[in-house]
């Protein structure tokens, strides 16, 4: 029997009862210790690990009933059997509701006491194993989730990289647009989830350009209306491509990122606040980065020129609330820039 490894603490103010229990439990191989009060029990628990407590309900000073919740809180792995007079069984039941594993009644039938102890130790051992198993399961699930998330992020990075490798003009565009979008989102005080959606949508917003004709995309000079229509399918194609891997909010942001705020965009079905907020933010970020980059049909605009262009199109192409948030960010950036220039 492995009972020798199990230490039991007998808590009772009556010496004769402690002795009786101790003798019986020792005879079947348990190692027992005694405590004469709640206070002594607590100090014993502090010094040593006990698998089980036999706790008298009625003791002078702090009663067993009062001690029970403390033990359950600080020593959740220690089982408790309440010892009570026959007349007090209702109290014992109350104790079990508060977390005691079992109760025994005075006068004791010592064989029943041993059975109760064994039953309780078996039960708590099993519960401990279940807790341990659940803990390792949760950890495994957590690890797997992280792994899947890492793979997902990798897949998205690969998609963005494939797209940017195809077109020398758009190298780094998606990443820069994501940075600008997130900055606008933060300026507007969006939640963490909204910011995350915005970031993914920004990184992926041009993935649909995979379906766009290279010749048209890299055409120097003005596009015909038909060519413009062709290029603009990329928003819808992009939304269709990423649909299986991202949530529908991200899909919607990509679908509508070329919508004009006033509804005047190509094939546009919704306008103003009906356009997803993320799409309205992405529209400003995308336009700014496109204007400040070299394109086949023109050289890059300066930051100031691009900011002016955004200001001009506020209310028509861009949502004024978002355009203003963006202009605020740019104004503070530029004032910092000017200070730096003065210092140098």
């Amino acid at each position: 029997m492995a009972n020798g490894e199990c230490k039991i603490l007998i808590v009772d103010d009556e010496a004769s009862i402690r002795k009786l229990l101790r003798r019986k439990l020792a005879s079947v191989g348990y190692v027992c210790q005694e405590a004469i009060s709640a206070e002594q029990a607590l100090s014993s628990l502090k010094d040593d690990h006990f698998r089980l407590l036999i706790l008298d309900v009625n003791m002078p000073g702090k009663s067993g009933m009062d001690l029970l919740p403390e033990i359950k809180m600080y020593y959740p792995n220690t089982a408790v059997i309440m010892a009570t007079a026959v007349a007090e069984t209702s109290i014992a039941v109350e104790c079990m509701k508060r977390g005691a594993e079992d109760y025994i009644c005075k006068p004791f039938n010592l064989d029943e006491v041993v059975m109760s102890v064994e039953r309780t130790l078996d039960k708590t051992e099993l519960q401990a194993r279940i807790r341990e198993y659940q803990g390792s399961l949760e950890q495994k699930v957590g690890e797997q989730t992280n792994e899947i998330r890492k793979l997902f992020l990798g897949a998205i990075e690969a998609l963005v990289f494939a797209l940017e490798a195809k077109d020398k003009y758009t190298g780094g565009h998606s990443r820069r647009v994501a940075d600008i979008s997130v900055a606008i989102g933060n300026e507007l005080g969006l939640s963490g989830d909204d910011i995350a959606d915005l970031k993914w949508a920004s990184l992926l917003h041009d993935v649909g350009k995979i379906a766009v004709d290279q010749m048209i995309q890299n055409k120097p000079g003005k596009l015909t209306r038909e060519e413009y229509e062709h290029i603009m399918i990329h928003a819808h194609v992009g939304a269709g491509i990423v649909k299986p891997v991202v949530n529908e909010r991200v899909v919607d942001i990509i679908e509508h990122h070329h919508d004009h705020f006033d509804g005047s965009g190509l094939h546009q079905e919704i306008a103003r606040e009906k356009i997803p907020l993320g799409a309205r933010i992405l529209a400003v970020a995308d336009a700014y980065d496109a204007m400040t980059s070299d394109r086949p049909y023109r050289a890059a605009l300066s930051a100031g020129e691009a900011v002016n262009e955004i200001r001009t199109c506020t209310g028509t192409q861009f949502d004024p609330v978002i355009a203003n948030a963006f202009l605020n960010i740019k104004a503070s950036e530029m004032s910092v820039g000017r200070k730096d220039n003065n210092n140098s």
Binding site: E229, H230, I233, V237
Partner: protein, 127 residues
């Protein structure tokens, strides 16, 4: 079939040879109108309301994918079935046409005349 009940179909391809061939196959049962690029196709769809469109993918001026998108985006014309008829036998293009752009069928050239007729009949029956 009585001549006045003939349904109108639009055949879009930049190669005159293909247009003629498809027209010949379809003209026994349908009234065929033709367009030589996506831009013309959209105009015909809007002005003549054909019952079905059979369209090439790679065309000058405006390609079939873009034209299909425009037809399916316009509430007035989105109910008209579009069959993409193309030489590009690629799963990606098929998926792009049907899943993303809303084309109703994807067929590759060279095609079987009977198969084309059956597909058209099926689509006209379900609309």
């Amino acid at each position: 079939m009585v001549a006045t009940e003939r349904k109108k179909v639009l055949v879009v391809d930049d190669e005159p040879g293909v247009r003629q061939l498809v027209s010949k196959i379809l003209s026994r049962e349908y009234t065929v109108v033709e367009a030589k690029d996506g831009e013309e196709a959209i105009n015909v769809v809007r002005s003549q309301s054909p019952r079905i469109v059979i369209m090439d993918m790679m065309m000058p001026k405006m390609d079939g994918l873009t034209a299909c998108y425009a037809i399916k985006k316009d509430p007035a014309t989105r109910g008209i079935p579009v069959i993409m008829l193309t030489a590009i036998d690629q799963e990606l293009n098929k998926k792009l046409s049907t899943t993303v752009m809303g084309a109703n069928r994807y067929m590759t050239k060279p095609f079987n005349a009977q198969e084309l007729l059956t597909t058209i009949r099926q689509l006209l029956d379900t609309v």
